[in-house]
């Protein structure tokens, strides 16, 4: 599905509401694979400067010598008719890009944390991060072949996940599985957000 390509877009035409979801997790856990499985476009890559928005570059002299670097993020898109468009961003895996998470998490409806049972500890930082930030998140265990299968309860215990955090198995390569993961996340976000502040 796409925006109506045939129609001109006069200024002032109502644009869809953009919604952002994140896919987090350790290095090589299948973030790009998941984005790709559900996206209507091939995953695109965008980059942010490492310095200017986090540290602030005010001295523009000698820019040529400055070792300014960028960090890359993959993202995909799913549009729902005229009204909503969902953007799915894979967060940069390496921890040296931590600061980028704040920008990505700002205004995000929620996050999927992908876990690999062979390297469960890799997703601890993501769990900590979204817990601290109060971003709705779920954990999806990506089932790689050859990985010992764990009971979900064991995974929940190992990650120290509260009982209300949804935890499910997935295969990031399969669209139906990715779709189930996203539905689980959106439902969870809806539940959290429909509580009154007093309940929270």
């Amino acid at each position: 599905m796409d925006y109506e390509r045939s129609e001109r877009t006069p200024a002032g035409r109502k644009l869809p509401t953009a919604i952002k979801l994140l896919v987090a997790g350790g290095f090589g856990v299948g973030k790009t694979t998941l984005v790709s499985a559900v996206s209507e476009i091939r995953p695109l890559r965008t980059e942010e400067f490492l310095t200017d928005r986090s540290v602030g570059v005010d001295d523009l002299e000698g820019v040529e010598e400055k070792n300014t670097t960028t960090v890359a993020m993959d993202f995909g898109r799913i549009s729902f008719g005229e009204d909503y468009v969902l953007y799915l961003f894979g967060t940069p895996g390496q921890e040296r890009f931590w600061f980028m998470w704040d920008e990505l998490a700002a205004g995000a409806l929620g996050a999927v944390i992908l876990a690999d049972t062979r390297r469960l500890a890799d997703c601890f930082p993501s769990v900590d991060y979204f817990e601290r930030r109060d971003t709705p998140f779920i954990v999806a265990v990506n089932c790689f072949e050859g990985a010992r299968t764990y009971e979900l309860d064991e995974v929940r215990l190992a990650l120290g996940l509260k009982p209300e955090i949804p935890l499910l198995l997935c295969d990031a390569r399969r669209r139906q599985s990715g779709k189930e993961v996203l539905i689980t996340l959106v439902r969870h976000a809806m539940e959290l957000n429909s509580r009154t502040p007093a309940d929270a």
Binding site: T9, L15, E47, T69, R175
Partner: protein, 135 residues
């Protein structure tokens, strides 16, 4: 649409030798393109702010660089800042500066995403869930 044939993101165009490693490397060209500016003259663009061109740039407008015109062409249909950055193969920070110029000159309009306070809107969840179920 192909979801499985190639899981890698769009490849970079050639001529990007200044990127040393896939994840991070020195970037000089984007600063040159914005004449050293790091902040847009106008507007506050998030990665998912949607941009649409209000008019076309014919190629003779003073003060527009080729990248500005490319953006105006691309945004005949609404695009997010992230998509514009990906298609032009430029960092989002550079795109923000260029978009600020275009906004200032009246070539584009921008719709910022809803604030987090709107995340209580049930209709949004229902629309998104229905859309996902139909995938």
């Amino acid at each position: 649409m192909s979801h499985y044939d190639d899981l890698r993101p769009e490849p970079r165009g050639s001529g990007h030798d200044e990127w040393l490693d896939e994840h991070a490397g020195p970037v000089v060209r984007p600063y040159v393109m914005t004449r050293g500016r790091t902040e847009p003259v106008r507007g506050d663009f998030s990665l998912i702010s949607l941009v649409v061109a209000g008019r076309t740039a014919t190629g003779t407008e003073p003060g527009l660089d080729p990248e500005h015109r490319t953006i105006v062409r691309l945004c005949q249909d609404p695009q997010s800042v992230a998509e514009i950055a990906a298609y032009l193969d430029l960092p989002a920070g550079t795109i923000r500066v260029l978009l600020g110029d275009l906004l200032d000159k009246g070539y584009v309009s921008v719709q910022n995403p809803q604030p987090e306070t709107d995340f209580r809107d049930r209709r949004m969840y229902e629309a998104v869930l229905n859309g996902l179920r139909a995938l």
